[in-house]
Each structure stands twice: as structure tokens, then as C-alpha cells.
């Protein structure tokens, strides 16, 4: 028998399908209608775009469900102990027969290197003026808590022939393949799957790590705290990782990540202090585990109600994302809230504290989700560091002296305050074509590998069987783009794309389509990417016991819930960098540019 909620949401979805077919996209509708349309889109996406890749599912009610987040992400789901844990498979948003890897020659056609050179090269920095660089570092920081394919496989390489005019350091360009999933039976005939080296859950694993062993060495050993030495994270001991913080996830490390990892380790320790005041008898472990719950939820809240509306700046989304966290109803409508909650209408009551639900497939980050988060154009090449008090220029530096093994030296040289000030006041790159950071198209990893990240962004999708742009849209029930003229708002770009793809519109790569597409008004990225995003962003909350049925004072403590509720990103920054309070004054969103001090004048 269909539930009342099923009938209501089902009807909503049917109505909007008709409206959207008539050619009116959700973002052209007035506020509340747009919000309901979004809810309907998400219903359809949940129904059609969650696909299981695992074959190790054992469903059995878990006795003694731990009242905290485990180190490796096991035993988080009440029935499926392995779900979401480190080392399990990425899921899929498309039916598995739509996830087959591309083989040569198609794998290399057109050359991903040429796509990168001709369509991604940053001629001139295009800024995203509504955002600050902190927003860029933030999303990389969050990504690292959700997914990672781990080290590539040096034994299995893809060679890319260079064009005649390309003077890359080696010919052919070599890209190592993604490490294969050894748990997969090569005979089962299904498309290749990959393993997530971190926990899939939104549990702060980027700072806490994804195993107990990894976590223990980062702990202070008392009062639940994480280790900080003179206010900085400990450094890695391995000489290859010299200058890089020892933290939960430190691949592709740079100053932007160091700022955020350190900030949220400090926040963790502040939460420990807060908890210890109320629970002086708790031991190190209990304080740690509870503080982690609170800190992870605070990050999730900041991401949901601050970062997301920052990058998707439209009234519908402001309400929509608030609805994800708090519910759309004002706080005072307690009575109504109870009713909507009973009916499990998320749009009314919010996901937080609602019923735990996986919608058909076990919770896992998906390959398609990872693809839409390849937002490398966000990273600027040039960094002019200013004094946060006077606004005076200190030095202009390039990305390369702020990353990898130079990370710590840069932090020591410029200091947290001026670096954080830079990240708060300057713009990131716009997410579009011809805006990949030059530094990342000519990037030397700490391993010494020389890579063009533009090439890799394209090649990985093909390698991992993430569909090209038009097929990808079709899987999301969006219309195919039938003419090059309609790919981007820029005719010159459209001509370039036509040229690169030899007039074959269906060959256009996902990344090219996403970066070229004109985003809805106020959006920092495309509507196509957004479809994956609304599905997966709410799923990260809805599938997680600690954001749903266990988001309670018994698990988090009342003080913990209150901490999450009261604090914003600006609060976290000011708590640990009070000298930046003037820059944040009057700021409505810490991911929008902060107020600048002007040289010679007052702030």
C-alpha cells in the first residue's frame, strides 16, 4: 500500500514532469514553485539514478550499534555493516550497462590532451566574483572526505600521442590507470568498478582519517583532542611528503587545504573543551568520538547552508538547502512541523533528524558524482598576499610555491592570518572553459609525476565509464544538445569545440559540456551537474544514521547539537583567527568575498 508521503510526493513529481516537458526548466519558475519542482526532480532522480555495484551486501540487524562514527566507516548503517566503509566500491548513478569503460581507440579520441590544450587552457584568469578562494579550497577539502581513488597503477599506463606543436615534457604523455578493484570477479562480465580509499560517509575523514591506525597517530591522547604543535598540524615524516601536514587525507595538498584542515582540527579541540566542561568525567575516547560527531555535522551544515547557497546563489536554492538542513518551515511552526514530520515530507521538515533512507541502493559515493566535482578551474594561478591589518601588498606568489612540499614553508613565511585573509578576500576561478589553472595543466606531483590535470579530467571519465555529455544528460532525462551552437553562449568556443570533436556532437566529453553550459542565473556551475548534485547532496545526509534517526541529544549531547545549530563558518574562522573579525564584519556568507582593508586607510 502506498504511504501518504508516497502519494503526495508521487503526485508532485508527476505534475512537474509535465511542466518541465512543456519546456519550462525549474530555475525559470517563481520561488516556491521552483522549490517544489526541485523536490520532484529529486524524487525522480532517487527512483532512476541510484544503482548498486556492491556484491558483498549482508543484511542483518546489527546488535550493539555503536553510538559514534567508527574509524573506518563500518557499522554505520543499522543493517549493512560494510556499507559506506573505507575500501568499498563506488556506486553509480546510471544503470550498470551505461557505465562501461571506453576502450581504445575511442578512449583516446579525440585526444584528451588536445581537448585540454584547446578548450581548457586559461588564456586569461576568469574570476567567479561572488565567491572567495576559501570556497575553492573548501570543496576540495570536502571532496577529500567523501572520495578518493587512491594511488594510480604504475603498471598499467595509457600513452597519449602528442600533437606536432605540443612540447610536453615526454612524448607520448603517460597517464597511469586508476588502480583496479581486486575484489571484482573478472569473469562476472559487469563493467569495472573502483574502490573508495576513504569512508563514503560525511564523517570528516579528511581530517580524522579512514582507519583507527591512521587516526591514533594524529591524536593528542588526552581530553579527546587532536594533535597540534604550536597551533599547526604535525608534519609527515616520509621525505616524499616533506612539508605536508599529517592529516586524514593529504593528497594534492596545498596551503588552501592546510588552512582548512588546521582550522577544523582546532574546531575539534574547541568542541572537546566545550564538552569537557559539561562532562568532566568523560575519558579521552568518549570526548574524541563525540567531538568528531559534532565537528563532522558542523562541516556538513556549513556546506549545506553556506557553501552551497554561496556557489548556487538563487532564492530557490537558498530555501532548498535550508530545507535540507532545517526544513522549509519556520522554527515557530512546531505543530505543523510535527505533522509534516509524521508524514515524512522532507520539504517541510528537513532531512536532519528525519527517517534514515537509502532509496533503493546502498549508500555510496558514485563515479558520476566525482566527475561533476572536477572543479579545477576554481584554482587561481596568482596569489597576491596582503597584510590583513593594513591591506598592504606583501608579495605576489604563484600557485606552485604554495603547494606540495612547499606548503609548510609558505604557511610559516606568510602566517595564517594573512593567508586566510587572502583566501577570504580574493576570487577563485569561474567554473568554465578556458579557465583551467595553468599550474595544474603543468603540474608536478610530490611523486615527481608530471601531469596535465585537464587531460586527466577528460581521460578519467572515459576510463571509468562515465558517459559523454549528451548521453549523460539523457540518463538524467535532460534533452540532448543537438547543435554545437547551443553548447555554450560563446560562438567562438562552439566553433573550437566543433573543431576538436570533428563535428561529432555526441562525442563531446562530459567535462567540456559541463564547463561550457550556461549555468542558471546565480549558479556557479551547470544545471546538468546540478542534477547529480541535488540527488547526492541530500543523500549524503538522508542515508546517514547520524544525520537522521541518530541526530539526537542522546548521541550528540544537547550541547553538541546546540554548537552545530549556533555556529557558522564565519564563527569558526573568528574563533581561531580573531584578528580576522573586522574582515568578516557584516559578511552574510563566509564563502563570499570578505571586506578588504585598504592601504593607508582604516579597514
Amino acid at each position: 500500500m502506498p504511504s501518504i508521503r508516497g502519494i503526495i510526493t508521487g503526485t508532485n513529481a508527476a505534475v512537474w514532469r509535465t511542466v518541465n516537458k512543456a519546456g519550462v526548466p525549474w530555475h525559470k519558475l517563481p520561488g516556491p514553485a521552483g522549490a517544489l519542482n526541485l523536490a520532484a526532480l529529486r524524487e525522480d532522480l532517487r527512483h532512476d539514478n541510484l544503482h548498486e555495484t556492491r556484491d558483498d551486501i549482508v543484511e542483518e540487524e546489527i546488535a550493539d550499534l555503536p553510538p559514534y562514527r567508527t574509524y573506518d566507516g563500518t557499522r554505520q548503517d543499522p543493517y549493512d555493516a560494510q556499507m559506506g566503509s573505507a575500501g568499498t566500491r563506488f556506486g553509480r548513478n546510471f544503470a550498470l550497462d551505461q557505465t562501461k569503460a571506453e576502450d581504445p581507440p575511442r578512449l583516446l579520441s579525440p585526444s584528451p590532451r588536445e581537448v585540454s590544450r584547446r578548450l581548457f587552457w586559461r588564456d586569461e584568469f576568469q574570476p567567479a566574483t561572488g565567491l572567495n578562494v576559501l570556497a575553492a579550497a573548501w570543496i576540495q577539502f570536502q571532496n577529500h572526505g567523501w572520495f578518493g581513488h587512491g594511488t594510480n597503477d604504475p603498471e598499467r599506463r595509457i600513452d597519449i600521442e602528442l600533437a606536432a606543436d605540443d612540447n610536453w615534457s615526454e612524448d607520448p604523455m603517460v597517464v597511469e590507470r586508476t588502480t583496479a578493484d581486486r575484489t571484482q570477479d573478472p569473469e562476472d562480465g559487469r563493467p569495472a568498478t573502483y574502490l573508495n580509499k576513504v569512508t563514503h560517509w560525511w564523517d570528516g575523514s579528511s581530517i580524522y582519517g579512514s582507519s583507527q591506525d591512521q587516526n591514533r597517530v594524529m591524536r593528542a591522547g588526552e581530553d579527546g583532542k587532536m594533535l597540534l604543535i604550536d597551533g599547526k598540524l604535525p608534519l609527515e615524516e616520509d621525505p616524499v611528503l616533506a612539508g605536508i601536514d599529517r592529516t586524514g587525507f593529504n593528497d594534492n595538498y596545498w596551503v588552501g587545504l592546510s588552512l582548512l584542515h588546521t582550522l577544523f582540527v582546532k574546531e575539534h579541540n574547541a568542541i572537546c573543551d566545550m564538552l569537557r566542561k559539561s562532562y568532566p568525567s568523560w575519558d579521552d575516547e568518549r570526548l574524541f568520538l563525540t567531538a568528531r560527531l559534532v565537528n563532522a555535522a558542523l562541516m556538513a551544515k556549513i556546506h549545506t547552508v553556506e557553501w552551497t547557497p554561496g556557489i548556487l546563489n538563487t532564492p530557490v536554492l537558498q530555501t532548498g538547502m535550508h530545507a535540507n538542513w532545517y526544513g522549509a518551515l519556520p522554527q515557530w511552526a512546531k505543530a505543523t512541523r510535527l505533522i509534516t514530520k509524521t508524514l515524512d515530507l522532507e520539504a517541510g521538515a528537513g532531512i536532519i533528524g528525519s527517517e534514515l533512507k537509502h532509496h533503493g541502493a546502498s549508500f555510496a559515493i558514485t563515479e558520476e558524482f566525482i566527475s561533476v566535482y572536477r572543479l579545477h578551474p576554481l584554482i587561481p594561478d596568482d596569489y597576491a598576499i596582503h597584510d590583513h591589518r593594513t591591506g598592504a601588498l606583501i608579495e605576489e606568489v604563484e600557485f606552485n610555491s604554495l603547494m606540495g612540499n612547499d606548503t609548510r614553508a609558505a604557511v610559516d613565511k606568510y602566517g595564517w592570518s594573512d593567508l586566510m585573509y587572502h583566501f577570504g578576500t580574493e576570487h577563485p576561478g569561474k567554473i568554465t572553459l578556458h579557465n583551467h589553472p595553468r599550474a595544474l595543466m603543468d603540474h608536478t606531483r610530490v611523486t615527481g609525476q608530471h601531469v596535465d590535470l585537464g587531460t586527466i579530467d577528460v581521460l578519467r571519465d572515459r576510463e571509468r565509464g562515465v558517459r559523454r555529455y549528451n548521453d549523460f544528460r539523457e540518463q538524467l532525462r535532460m534533452p540532448r544538445v543537438t547543435s554545437f551552437d547551443k553548447l555554450t553562449p560563446d560562438p567562438a568556443w562552439n566553433a573550437e569545440i566543433r573543431d576538436v570533436y570533428n563535428g561529432q556532437i555526441d562525442d563531446v566529453d562530459l567535462q567540456v559540456g559541463l564547463l561550457g553550459e550556461k549555468p542558471p542565473t546565480g549558479f556557479g556551475f551547470s544545471d546538468t551537474a546540478f542534477r547529480i548534485f541535488i540527488l547526492m547532496a541530500s543523500r549524503r545526509l538522508k542515508s546517514d544514521r547520524f544525520f537522521t534517526r541518530d541526530y539526537t541529544p542522546e548521541i550528540y549531547t544537547a550541547q553538541g547539537l546546540d554548537w552545530i545549530d549556533r555556529h557558522t563558518m564565519a564563527d569558526v574562522v573568528v574563533r581561531h583567527f580573531p584578528e580576522l573579525a573586522p574582515a568578516l564584519e557584516g559578511s552574510a556568507n563566509a564563502f563570499a568575498p570578505w571586506r578588504k582593508s585598504t592601504p593607508g586607510g582604516a579597514a
Binding site: A270, D273, V574, R575, G586, S587, A588
Partner: protein, 444 residues
């Protein structure tokens, strides 16, 4: 966007003002108004005050929170870590001269140490510490002071009738004049009366020296200029002071006179009443004093259990029920919360000392906690305040109390014949009304 502590609601502020603020002002004045205190005792004002703060703390948790006191929001700090932060940060950035206190006290001691800030405070503080021997185990003149205390105790014993607060108060005024000023002032009751009148004037919070202050100051100055080597005036010349204007030695004496002459005996009479109802503890005190000569400073100071009795009485019924600080600059607490310059910060001793959530012995008489327990290290207890601006006369106060009470208790059995009988067995009341007390000191 400002990181801030929570704010109690307006109705809560109204209640806090009525139940904590107002009673503290009407009772806690420079000279407790007898009638007011009695009435307040009847309506159990102290209990309401405890309950008010307790319910706010329960609601707002262990962090400090803002609560409206009359018209202005003040920050109430109650967790020992926060109290410590505030008191260790005195006088900068937490100055001890909130407006009301300054306005009231200026009437009779405009140059008071406790109203001073910055360099001036440091100057006056080092002067006070030098004379009061703050932090030393025994005051240089301890031997002499013990003898005075014993004599004054004997005077009380000699009354031959049940004693009242007024009797002890009178004896202590005399003791204070002898200890602070010297033999010449022993019978100068006019001096005490002058101070009393000025303090009454202070209750109107004039914000400037009251009429008669000049004469009173001159009166004191004369004594300072003819020091008695066996009293505190005898130590003034050798104590560091920059010049007469700044340090104002005579002006500093004023605080000592009322603290020793009024506050100290109030606490001692309560201790006597408590011991009268706690025979086990009384026996312990006597055991400790057996065979000791109370005119030997060392024996007096060594009576640790008796000291514990005095201290725990002060914990149970603090004479400073509520005190405060004012921020001299913007202050950030460790979690980043901003407390703007000029904010009042309150420490509610009456609540903190009895906080049942935190203190296992909250409502019983527990002198042993001061001898072997952790009470001395607990920042919840601030009847003498704490930190750099804590009471510099604390050691001397306890010492005088030990000598005085030691003498009474070795000579007599205290029996409460009228007024409150604090007894073990059930939680001790929040109020112990001095004016209602009558204690018979029956010779042993």
C-alpha cells in the same frame, strides 16, 4: 556576524534583576541595613537568588551567558574555568570597578585599591601587600595581633550575658582600630562612627566623596603621621609608595577598617553559630587547640581545622554574594566569543558556592574540605575573590578569626539561644541572619 555567548530572555532578566540584583543591593550595602536583612531573610531572598541563577545555568549550560541586570546586559560567569579567566585577568582587562560599586564606594574611599586600574592599581596594590604581608604565612605583627584578638574575645566573654551581633561588632571595631591604627585609637569610636556615616551616604551611590570625607581623611592622616610600631600604621613608612597623592596611604586604610571591622566579624559570628550546632566539628576544633597558647602566633596560624570552619562558613554564607568586573577592552573568550569593552561581568558567589551540580558538599558544613580536600584550589569559591586582585587581607582575616574564635571556644560552650540554628542533617539554609542571633557563651 559576531561570536557571542547566549542571551537570557527579557523575562529572565527581569527575574534575575528582582531575585539576584535587587536583594544584593538592598542587603549588600556598605553597612547591612538591619531591617532589610531581616525581612529579606523572612522572604528567603537568598534562596530565590540561588534558584534563579541555578535555573538559568541549567538552561544555558556551562558557558557564560548574558543576563539583563536592570537595564544593561551583564555576562554571568559560573564555571570555575571562566571565573578563573576573569579573576586572573584582573584588573586588566577585567577591572573591579563596575559603575555601581565605584559610585557607592567613592563616597567613603575614592582612592580605594579596589576602584583603581592600571599603574595606579599596581602602585596601591604593592603598598597594601607590603603592609598586610599578603601571602606570608604569618603577619610580622602576628604575635601582637593575636594578643589583641584574645583581649577582645575576653571582653566579649566578660559581658556575662548571651551575646549579639552588635556586641561582637563593637568588640571588633575596637580590635580593628587597635590592629590597623594602634593603641591611641583604641577608644576612638568617633572614627568608626564617621566611617559608618560615610558608608551610609555611599548607599545613595553619589559617585563622589560624601560630605565629611575630608575631615575623616584628615582624621586618619593624623594617625598615619604618628604611627604605632605595633599596628599596621607602623609599617606604612617602610612600604613602597610613590607619593602621597597617588598611593594615599591614609585612604587605603579605609578599606581595611571596614573589611576588618564589619565584614570579618560578620563571618565570625556565623562561624560561632554553626559550630554551636555542629558538636562533632566543635570537638575537632577543641582537640586541635588543646595545649596551645593562643598568644603564640604559630599556634594560632596552625589551627588549620578552625581556619577550615571559618572558610567553610564564608563559603556557605558569603558576605560578598555577588561581585563583578567590567571589561576595559574587547575580550575574546577561548571559543572566540566576544565580550565588548565596558561590559559588566558577574560572579554570583551565593550560587557558585552552593552549586549542587558541581559541589558534593554544597549545603553542608564541610571544614575538612579546606584542610585535606580540594576546596582551596577550587575557583568556584570566591568569598575572598581570587587571582591578582584577590583580597590581600585574607590571610590576616583568617588569622584574627582563629585567635578570636579560638579563645572563645577554649573558654566557653556556644549555645544559640535565639535566631537560626544551623545544624547537620538537612541542607543548610541560604540565609543566616546575623541580627536575629543570640549566642550564650557558657563557661566551660
Amino acid at each position: 556576524m559576531v561570536l557571542d555567548f547566549k542571551h537570557a530572555s527579557i523575562p529572565e532578566g527581569v527575574r534575575f534583576t528582582a531575585q539576584v540584583g535587587v536583594p544584593n543591593v538592598v542587603q549588600g550595602l556598605f553597612r547591612k541595613r538591619e531591617k532589610v536583612v531581616a525581612v529579606a531573610g523572612l522572604v528567603q531572598a537568598d534562596q530565590l537568588a540561588y534558584g534563579c541563577t541555578a535555573s538559568l545555568v541549567k538552561k544555558y549550560g556551562p558557558e557564560p551567558f548574558w543576563v539583563r541586570l536592570v537595564t544593561e546586559e551583564a555576562l554571568l560567569v559560573h564555571h570555575p574555568d571562566d571565573i578563573r579567566r576573569v579573576l586572573e585577568g584582573s584588573p586588566t582587562p577585567f577591572a573591579s570597578d563596575p559603575d555601581a560599586k565605584r559610585k557607592g564606594m567613592s563616597a567613603f574611599q575614592p582612592t580605594a585599591l579596589t576602584l583603581s586600574r592600571g599603574d595606579l592599581w599596581a602602585d596601591r596594590r604593592s603598598f597594601a601587600e607590603a603592609v598586610l604581608d599578603t601571602g606570608r604565612p604569618i603577619h610580622r605583627l602576628g604575635q601582637r595581633f593575636a594578643a589583641v584578638a584574645v583581649e577582645e574575645a575576653d571582653a566579649v566573654l566578660g559581658l556575662g550575658r548571651p551575646v549579639t551581633w552588635a556586641d561582637v561588632h563593637e568588640a571588633f571595631q575596637r580590635l580593628t582600630r587597635r590592629v590597623v591604627i594602634g593603641a591611641d585609637a583604641a577608644d576612638d569610636t568617633a572614627l568608626s562612627d564617621e566611617l559608618g556615616a560615610l558608608m551610609d551616604a555611599g548607599n545613595k551611590m553619589p559617585g563622589k566623596p560624601a560630605a565629611g570625607y575630608e575631615d575623616f581623611h584628615a582624621h586618619l592622616q593624623k594617625y598615619v603621621d604618628t604611627p604605632d610600631p605595633e599596628a599596621l600604621t607602623g609599617l606604612v613608612a617602610a612600604a613602597p609608595h610613590t607619593d602621597d597623592e597617588e598611593t594615599d596611604a591614609a585612604g587605603q586604610l579605609i578599606h581595611w577598617l571596614f573589611a576588618m571591622g564589619d565584614t570579618l566579624p560578620a563571618n565570625l559570628v556565623r562561624t560561632l553559630a554553626v559550630l554551636a550546632g555542629h558538636p562533632l566539628q566543635l570537638a575537632e576544633v577543641r582537640a586541635e587547640l588543646t595545649g596551645k597558647r593562643l598568644t603564640a602566633a604559630k599556634s594560632v596560624a596552625g589551627a588549620a581545622y578552625l581556619a577550615g570552619c571559618i572558610l567553610d562558613t564564608m563559603r556557605l554564607w558569603p558576605t560578598t554574594a555577588l561581585f563583578g568586573r567590567v571589561t576595559t577592552e574587547d575580550v575574546r573568550f577561548p571559543q572566540g566569543e566576544l565580550v565588548p569593552a565596558g561590559s559588566q561581568v558577574l560572579i554570583h558567589n551565593l550560587f557558585n558556592h552552593r552549586n549542587r551540580e558541581r559541589i558534593p558538599y554544597a549545603d553542608r558544613f564541610a571544614p575538612e574540605e579546606w584542610v585535606t580536600g580540594g576546596a582551596s584550589d577550587d575557583w568556584s569559591f570566591n568569598f575572598f575573590s581570587n587571582g591578582p586582585q584577590g583580597c590581600p587581607g585574607a590571610g590576616l582575616s583568617v588569622f584574627l578569626g582563629q585567635a578570636f574564635l579560638g579563645r572563645l571556644l577554649t573558654q566557653a560552650d556556644p549555645v544559640v539561644t535565639s535566631g537560626p540554628h544551623p545544624r547537620p542533617g538537612k541542607p543548610l539554609a541560604y540565609t543566616l541572619d546575623l541580627n536575629a542571633l543570640e549566642i550564650d557563651l557558657q563557661p566551660r
